[in-house]
Symmetry: C2
Subunit: 147 residues, 2 copies
Amino acid sequence: MRNNTMGSLIWLRLMRFANQSNQLSNEFLKRFDLTTAQFDVLAQIQVYQPITQSELAEKVVVTQGGISRMLARLEKESYIVRKQEWKTKTISLTEKAQAVLEEALPAQLMFQSSFFEDVLTKEEEKQLYKLITRVHKHSQQKKFPPE
Amino acid sequence: MRNNTMGSLIWLRLMRFANQSNQLSNEFLKRFDLTTAQFDVLAQIQVYQPITQSELAEKVVVTQGGISRMLARLEKESYIVRKQEWKTKTISLTEKAQAVLEEALPAQLMFQSSFFEDVLTKEEEKQLYKLITRVHKHSQQKKFPPE
DNA sequence: CTAGTTTACTTGACTAATCAAGTGATTGTG
DNA sequence: CACAATCACTTGATTAGTCAAGTAAACTAG
């Protein structure tokens, strides 16, 4: 019926795994009162602060509108401050966010790693990273799929 | 600064790729007037119809509430019909959905495959599938992360 | 036969995203 | 100098999902 190709099988697996691990990550981060999306944004800000909204949007691969809303939420929870500077808004972390990240970041890195370390050898991890990186980079070139 | 582990690097790549390819898939399916999520649900119904809502929710890994809303949308667009049977609602595809899928399904399978076929050898595809399957299965066991 | 439990589904409040249209400074250019 | 274009950001409408509380049918006692 559905003569699945190898590629479509990989795709399904990948999507289901991404979904699943995202949910588990949300569950995990609940103890820090964060969602995966919020953590991702805060971690990027920490690395690149001070940063403008549009730059940040690019880093986390979200539209301008998306980042605007996300930052509005994060500001309401006083994780970040936005300073109007010229026409640009410059974003940086508050003490609160800094403190939360200090705990959450290493924990989350461990958590993420555990998905792979528990079942793959060092060699296999490297192999997987190599393959997924190649696939990812290729997909970025793909921007405009042929009609 | 961020002493990233191999695992956390893989995770980031995987998530960004899942995100990216999901967006591209949405763009691709626009010609059929479908989103990736809708396509996924319709394809599952096609395989398993007639099926109940709760069974379907499990297949596509979404909550009861989520599937309820999704099916309400699909019904409004008359892609599916829901027949109350006892206390259960049995779902099946309409002619319209059947016709759309006939075109969309092979196209989408091709599209998904192209992410991998273009950059990996047959051998590497098998390797990637093996690794991601192991990782995915492991994540399903993981259901309740340790406190 | 009525009361309580379970099952299947819905719904309200929320997070997170998209697109497209709108706002409001800053920067050309005639 | 004024008008248009551009840039950075916001916002309304919509899709897609979550959780938790609610409804209604169908079983399961006492």
